[in-house]
Chain length 309, copies 2
């Protein structure tokens, strides 16, 4: 039997997913369980996953929230069981093992950088698309966490102050346009304007339009759906340009829910991006790549965190 | 006579300003001369400044443009004499001394971090306000230049795609609102809307309104001018928030043309900023400080560059 070298668990809003890696960082075990919405239930589930995966070293934990550099979780709007709970201490006590915790997208960035699309890169930005947009970045060959540990919250970059309201209280954050819910917003906006007729007819009413509907119809060649994908790609490129002007990365990795369909999304994003970077004609542009580790990136990054990244 | 330890020259659009520092990094000499708009004339002037300041080590050069990490200047829209000219090699040949070159705002960040407002800080962002907005940032106690050397071009972060056109070709770059020319734009916009009547009456016509007019009138307590300063502060805070969400700095240093009037600008910027950061109630916010080195920061940074920063 192969020895468990590292264990990491990614705590999502609906599922908690754990992986065990061997010394070669190959996945040798995994377990996915629903995320309970109370702290006690959550600790139970995380302990069950860790015990199932084995090992006796530290356990890495990725969470969708702001994690201070000292490991204190200060905000996790989408996971009720994490709110105001010292989850790291509770789990460590329960397991009798050290628990290390960090932001899920920061850990996805570590994973893609170490064993995914960003191997060998010194300057990398990861943009994680989900309901919102999270992120992480590597500079000088080191993960950058900022002063408090909150670096990489790219989704709340305001790109249009007259845009739709964001749950964070402001208007026109990048994630209102360029995330999974952003795609749905842009699709409904198109339908309100009388476009996207095929999708609307199939779905029944505007409220019911989701990103998947547009993706499926665009994949079938529906012109109005492709136009929505193009608008989405323009917003993606706008944010990627802002990050490029600030950070000048060698590589941008797009991860999360939309990264399983690079054929649909990557060409229009690249086209808009080339036209959008300051002094674009005078400089080498960063490469844009889709994540290689898929939805496992957060858990693999959490396992790497348990090793000290 | 004190020995010259380091020499740096900041090449601006209208003036080139050089400083000599002693081993304690105190300024022991300076010279300011007009910037010629041809490469030969510019090399002459830079050589005269360097020779006047003395020393025999490397000379540091700060320029308003994109400088590659290998020292090649790839873009300098505002200095005709720098365009397409290998200024570093020409000056090195002329002086028989090594010449090191970097972006002026990157060097201002180095200077403020080493001997100015950012002493002792590990995570710092500098935002340099001039006609546009440049910048630089420190992370993990190191200046970050990005892959090519172009990191810190915060001014071309798009914050409103329906905003005014930028010379870069896009619309609504941050520097259209939050720079020196941004203040003038916001003032003219207010005048077009029938506000800013006192200033308009004094100046004569809308085209002639400049940032200084609003600053002076606001300093005298003119309510409509103070309202323009408040709008300006809101745009400043919006961009500073975007940078904070991405980089999570400990300190933001505002340098350049407006930084000589912190009493007017800092309180409204801080007020808007507190309301604008994601999860602002759950986190320690970065301090915002105005630069300590004034317009000398670029030249002092260039002198530090000559020492190897």
């Amino acid at each position: 039997m192969t020895t468990v070298h590292a264990v990491g668990i990614d705590v999502g809003g609906t599922k908690a997913y754990g992986v065990a890696l061997d010394a070669g960082l190959n996945r040798i075990g995994e377990l996915r369980l629903p995320t309970p919405n109370d702290p006690d239930g959550l600790v139970d589930v995380l302990a069950r996953i860790a015990e199932h995966l084995g090992g006796d070293g530290p356990v890495g934990l990725g969470v969708p929230g702001l994690v201070r550099r000292d490991g204190v979780l200060v905000s996790a709007p989408n996971v009720a069981g994490l709110r105001q709970s010292p989850i790291r201490e509770l789990l460590a006590e329960r397991l009798g093992r050290e628990v290390r915790i960090d932001n899920d997208n920061t850990l996805a960035a570590v994973a893609e950088w170490q064993v995914g699309a960003g191997r060998g890169v010194q300057e990398m930005v990861l943009v994680g698309l989900g309901t919102g947009i999270g992120g992480g970045y590597i500079s000088g060959g080191q993960i950058r966490r900022g002063t408090n540990g909150f670096a990489g919250e790219f989704g709340h970059m305001v790109v249009d102050p007259t845009g739709p309201e964001c749950p964070c209280g402001r208007h026109g954050c990048w994630e209102r346009f360029a995330s999974g819910s952003g795609l749905a917003y842009l699709a409904r906006l198109a339908a309100v304007k009388g476009q996207l007729r095929g999708v609307l007819q199939a779905v029944g009413h505007i409220d019911a339009i989701r990103g998947e509907h547009v993706r499926t119809a665009a994949g079938d060649g529906d012109a109005e759906s492709l136009a929505v994908i193009d608008t989405f790609a323009r917003w993606m490129a706008l944010g990627l340009m802002n990050l490029t002007n600030a950070l000048d990365p060698e590589l941008i990795v797009i991860s999360g829910g939309l990264s399983d369909d690079p054929e649909l999304f990557l060409p229009p994003i690249e086209r808009h991006f080339r036209h959008a970077v300051f002094a674009g004609e005078d400089r080498t542009l960063p490469r844009i790549a889709f994540a290689e580790l898929g939805p496992s990136a957060g858990a693999i990054g959490a396992a790497l965190l348990s090793l000290g990244y």
